[in-house]
Symmetry: C4
Subunit: 385 residues, 4 copies
């Protein structure tokens, strides 16, 4: 099989049928594998079907071994790896976190067989880590926690000091009344952590008045820590979302044929000039016959270009209204938002100022305009409005 096609099939965000099927099979295999490990830990099930579970376990491992081989084989087909020697790319992939998790997943079966009986099948839980590849949001959360790590570590240190202090005091107050529960600081520490996180199992409860006062204080301290934690993370998350939104605008602009040849500084300028604007479903973005004073890039949502004979629909990362920037003619179609959408608007004045500053960009745009307005029929959606 062709590495290119294989790579597309294995791509976590792939849109083709093969990619979808592979994704479904992968997730099913992880679910089955986890089910096997869970079932094997139940004594009655293991006694009744232990052999069957071990066989299934090895089959799942074999499945992941095949995936490992496929991913390793297809690694050189990744866009970023085109011009590097295949062997080095494969080695680099094998040493990446994803590659290591895949190797462990593939090896779980062999390890299970070798170690035999007991709780060897627990090794299969590494399979759950394979799902991380399919959850891009986790990397955002990881970045938020990473950026906030100083504040979080400081909070954790304060938390630890309070915890040890509280358990020492609880030990002093309670160890005569309840030597079983508060007989030493490490024992009292268990009570303190259960209390400060407001879990409250109830297996260790202070009985003396001072112990209860202390408990009340650290419960309130616990919800203060939780609130501070939420405050810190909310602040950093909102920041990360803003950064994400700017980089998205950047990506939309950088992905347009207009701007691909002129390089990052102009892209940055254009990204800064774009004004995001929200439209409710059904709103008319522009009307046929109006003067065209701006162009739009679609950040999210779908718009409908009402041209004859059939309306066109444009989605995320596409653009419209650029003809007006080049010809000065009025809009040649009405554009309507078919679902709530966010458009990035580039004003004609900003656009012309940009062209005056950047002769390189101006010549690219003129060539592009000639191509589009030339005799060949323009690509759908690129010649409207």
């Amino acid at each position: 099989m062709d590495p290119e096609r294989l790579h597309k099939m294995l791509d976590p965000d792939g849109a083709g049928t093969a990619a979808r099927l592979f994704r479904a099979a992968h997730h099913a295999l992880v679910a089955i594998g986890t089910g096997i490990v869970l079932a094997d830990s139940v004594p009655s099930l293991r006694q009744a079907h232990g052999g069957l579970l071990a066989v299934l376990f090895c089959l799942v491992s074999a499945g992941f071994a095949i995936e490992y081989a496929a991913r390793c084989y297809a690694a050189p087909a990744a866009p970023a790896a085109r011009h590097r020697p295949p062997l080095r790319v494969r080695l680099a992939w094998a040493c990446s976190p994803g590659g290591i998790v895949d190797l462990l997943s593939a090896a779980a079966g062999i390890a299970g067989l070798v170690l035999g009986g007991g709780d060897a099948l627990l090794l299969g839980l590494v399979w759950l880590c394979k799902l991380v590849r399919y959850a891009p949001g986790l990397s955002i959360l990881g970045r938020v926690v990473g950026r906030a790590h100083r504040a979080l570590l400081s909070l954790l240190l304060g938390f630890g000091i309070v915890l040890v202090g509280a358990s020492s005091l609880a030990f002093v107050f309670e160890h005569n009344a309840q030597p079983q529960r508060f007989g030493s600081i490490p024992t009292a520490l268990w009570w303190a952590i259960v209390t400060v996180t407001t879990t409250g199992y109830g297996d260790a409860v202070p009985k003396t008045p001072y112990g209860r006062l202390l408990a009340g204080l650290i419960m309130v301290g616990g919800i203060l820590v939780l609130a501070l934690l939420a405050a810190i993370l909310a602040s950093f998350y909102a920041d990360e979302m803003r950064r994400h939104a700017f980089l998205n605008t950047w990506r939309v602009v950088a992905g347009l044929p207009f701007f691909q040849q002129v390089g990052a500084p102009i892209v940055a300028d254009v990204a800064r000039l774009l004004r995001p604007r929200d439209y409710p479903a059904g709103a008319v973005v522009c009307r046929r016959g109006e003067p065209g004073d701006c162009m739009y890039f679609i950040a999210s949502g779908t718009v409908e270009i009402r041209v004859n004979p059939a309306p066109l629909r444009l989605g995320s990362e596409q653009f419209f209204g650029e003809i007006a920037l080049l010809t000065g003619a009025p809009r040649n179609a009405t554009v309507v938002a078919v679902e709530p959408c966010t458009l990035l608007r580039l004003d004609i004045a900003d656009f012309h100022a940009l062209m005056a500053q950047q002769p390189e960009l101006a010549s690219i745009i003129k060539e592009e305009a000639e191509r589009r307005l030339g005799p060949a029929p323009a690509a759908a959606g690129e010649r409207v409005a």
Copy 2:
């Protein structure tokens, strides 16, 4: 009965007496119905009054059946359905989520009778879902959760991996010490979920040192997850509120007679030009005799126009001060905020720039001005300031 009047009566946000009465009856019926279901589940009450409860249950169902018929009959009177065939509108309504809940509510009585005894009356709990129609805030919350679903799903995946991992470790650490509580991973999973959400029933508590260390870690992990959840939702909620505020401005502008004929693009431009400004109660917004340099739209709150003989009050979505934009004459009345209010201010310069760009809008405004300043007495509140 006229479908129009019926539709107004059934409108969840209706302001008339009929609508109010219907709302009260509806909520009372839901409350009574829920009370019946709850009472029927109590063995002593069911033994004593089982028959009465069943009869009341059927009566409540009958009430909802009447409501179902009325809503179905009145559906074609909805503003959005004016020009479509009534039968199709009724069918569309019956297949909408609201229609299905209403059908199930009406059918609960029959199902209860058919299934008879046992816990059949539990079907009546579908009635609670009828209240969702009266809680517009739930749809905002639903939209927030919907927009955040990627981040939430990723967090949930991480949560699930931690949960399974923690219960496997707890199983390893504790299953010898407490075979009853931690004898298999599924059993330990119960402990893990109770612990990580900081519920802490106390029915399963680790006893070994490693088990307690693990418990402490996942309790802290649990409050971290809660804080992350709050952070994600706070970020998306603030975003949704901003979007909501912009769409509100849009709605206020789009609802004005001035702008209704000129279409969405101008509305968007005007909405962008409006500057929201908060006034405390008692603040003077403008004074008689001052030059008029802007007009105001009321986003929320009430203002008093101090004209002779009696002052006028204007509320949400009304406007004032527009005569100055048209005639250049000084303000002819003082305007005072009678409660804290938010006004949207449109500057005269922005307004004239808009008119120069949009001859279509200019002619509409001139006609409007002539109508208002004409011989016929202008509508209250439209000719002041």
Copy 3:
């Protein structure tokens, strides 16, 4: 005693010695009173010192009765009540929430005596409500909750539906296994509320697999509700803080002698023109001999005007640098922030534009300037920079 002086003494934010002493006595009385009520509820203490506690209770009530009389007598001295008939002002005060709480506080002693024995002294807990007058932050929190009430009620409705639904399901799953704990929906409701708020007493715990699955789901649902609640309140609180900051700017401007005679619309314009800027401690705000291009109002913090012979200190709501706006002369002193402070900066260009638009304001300012630059020594801090 003079009502004016009495009113100042009773003012919750009063700065004089009498006000401080009264505040201390008031808080001490509330603390003692609450202590009496708490002590009286302890059987052993009541048996030993019941009579003493009852006497002390009546003494505290008598103290509050005197306060009630004093507040009633002093009510007409409030600034807002100067021109109204004293009797009507006193009646209005007696009917306000504060007046009613004070009346109940004064009457608690009589009620305690009349009702005698039992738990009559519990009436004294109304005294705690007297503290609300001294916590201005509570009114902000109340306003936040008030503004967010739609969203909160919707969330509460969703919460209630989930609660009833969950307890019905728990009843279905568990009532055979644990008829004691889950024998009816109302009984199961107790379990549901304890679980969904993650309190987890552990007195009712599901035992069947389905019951546990349901419990896990509603625990996660509970932390989702908590996170949504935090998200809603955070959004509205940040909004309220912004509004508060704007109204503070407004209040600073409106409190200046410059602007007091020109009325609200100009104040609003000036408030809009002011740019808040933060300075770290030690930063030089402006330097002697520099051209003066703006004036500053102090929103918070303290600055030092380095004039001979001794430097002056200006604090919150004072202003400096206005001479430069009037004379065009260079700064006549260096100004340094002595603690981190926020200044509101008004640019000279904005100020002159404002004066051109508002001849009324211009003439006031010129009179003010002549007064300050006249032969009489200017007030400290008003003639610098």
Copy 4:
């Protein structure tokens, strides 16, 4: 040993090898000391190794005594204390919170020996406080809590009123059913605090219907308080982060040789003119041969200046692109972000406006330019782009 070198070694943020080694030793000593205190509280360990633990305890104390002496000796070498008499500086240090904690840490050993046996070793827990010096984030959190203290105290007051009210009601409802658990208000208070913080030990649980209704209400009230707490802190934390970011910009600008001589007002103006902009890794910031229209200060991250023969890397608080502001020549190098970074951009127009307004600044910059463009090779990274 030289006080200067000693001071650098003791600096919590010191970068040298000595500072690192000292930090490691310090943290290890705190960890060991805490471990000793914890171990000594365990009866079995104390019986077996009591003497050894006491000896180790004194050794750790001795270590901290040496640190105390060293810090005291090195105090006059702190940059802020250069020109003051050494004895006074040492006394001031000894009276600062850090000095007091260090003294107590050093004295713990002697106190332990003098008090002997019992729980004397608990005094060693003061050592944990020494770690606060190494957690700068705690001071930010402290500042947030400090700024929010009004709102927090008000919330705490409301919380306290609810708590006492709830426990009184619980006492009324439950004290007949459970005299053991709810026999007095102070006893019921324990239940109330355990419930309202959603800890839920389960040692006191209401049994009457009214008691349970009350419990449900205060559980919901508890999560509302937690959400309000998170909302307040999130708002103040975001505010503090903004202030922090502005002061960071200020610090970057104030640290540049350009601006050090012109004083704070210009620094404030420049800080206001800077526009932070995020660049993804790999983005081209500017290109060789382009006209230079701005200069950049690096707020965070690293950029690579692609000059011959070897590219240069610039990091936080460095700057580039300033030659273009002075000579008008095109960029002489391409600059690429090697990791995601935030640059502060100063536009050429703003810069020239600033120079026109500030002749003092203009002459400094011209001197600087002549120095850099003069015959001597400029410092690396200062003559590029």
